[in-house]
């Protein structure tokens, strides 16, 4: 894991666009991209009445927990988690090595559909994130100064 991560406006646009495309194709409600530490990288779709940051942190926690569970039974990790509710459901999947994709969807679509397009989105997201993570540790856009 790099020590710092920079996201440029252009990369942010690409990440956002992939999530929007995913929502359109799968008919899901909300998509959130975060890393294993719970850092939010993009949120798209319906976000009224929900706090994406808190969802990100809890999802990262849930994912870490299941990864430990996986190790205990000799698996490397569980790449997909699905929480079924009465009306709203959550699909959680791994993106590359250190990111996660949270998709919230209702009964208007199916977990099969969400999984199908989550897979496609994950691949695209992972390649952008790889680019971001491999960037050298120097601010690409000038100096950053402490306010005093």
């Amino acid at each position: 894991m790099p020590r710092h991560r920079f996201i440029t406006p252009d990369e942010q646009k690409q990440l956002d666009a992939i999530l929007r495309e995913l929502l359109k194709n799968s008919d899901a409600k909300t998509a959130i991209l975060l890393d294993h530490g719970g850092f939010l990288m993009s949120t798209q779709g319906f976000t009224e009445h929900i706090d994406p940051q808190t969802i990100a942190v809890l999802a990262a926690g849930a994912f870490s927990t299941t990864r430990e569970l996986a190790k205990m039974i000799g698996e490397e990790e569980f790449t997909v988690m699905f929480h079924q509710g009465r009306r709203d459901h959550i699909h959680l999947s791994a993106v590359g090595k250190d990111a996660l994709l949270v998709i919230i969807f209702e009964n208007t679509t199916t977990v099969g559909m969400v999984r199908l397009f989550a897979r496609e989105a994950s691949k695209k997201l992972a390649s952008i994130l790889l680019m971001i993570n491999e960037r050298k540790s120097e601010a690409p856009m000038g100096n950053i100064k402490l306010q005093q």
């Binding site: 194709n25 199916t110 099969g112 559909m113 999984r115 199908l116 397009f117 897979r119 496609e120």
Partner: protein, 120 residues
Amino acid sequence: MASVKDVVERLSRVKGVVGSILVAKDGLVVASNLSVQVQDEIVAAMVSAVGTTAVKATEMMEQGELRNIIIEGRNGKLFLADADVGYLGVLTSLEANMGLIRLELMEATETLRKLTSGLA
């Protein structure tokens, strides 16, 4: 461009078709348009079981890649095709035109393959 959901829905509107469903190869429903009498999950489980067995059968009997399956019952028929991302299933009434249904099914399968190329 049509969505996966559209393709499955359009199939269910073909004359004689009672319902249509796209099932991932592990049995998870991707999209469905079935009448209320039959439950999605049951059909999905059956479709994936039949599909997997048929793929294996054609392979073992050296009949090449599976194209489609037709199951005829006393009350209706079930058509199945392999669409890479899953099995596409169509339930029809007894009187449905088999030729037409097969044609529509193949066309829908092709569209699905294009829509989801690389996703399977």
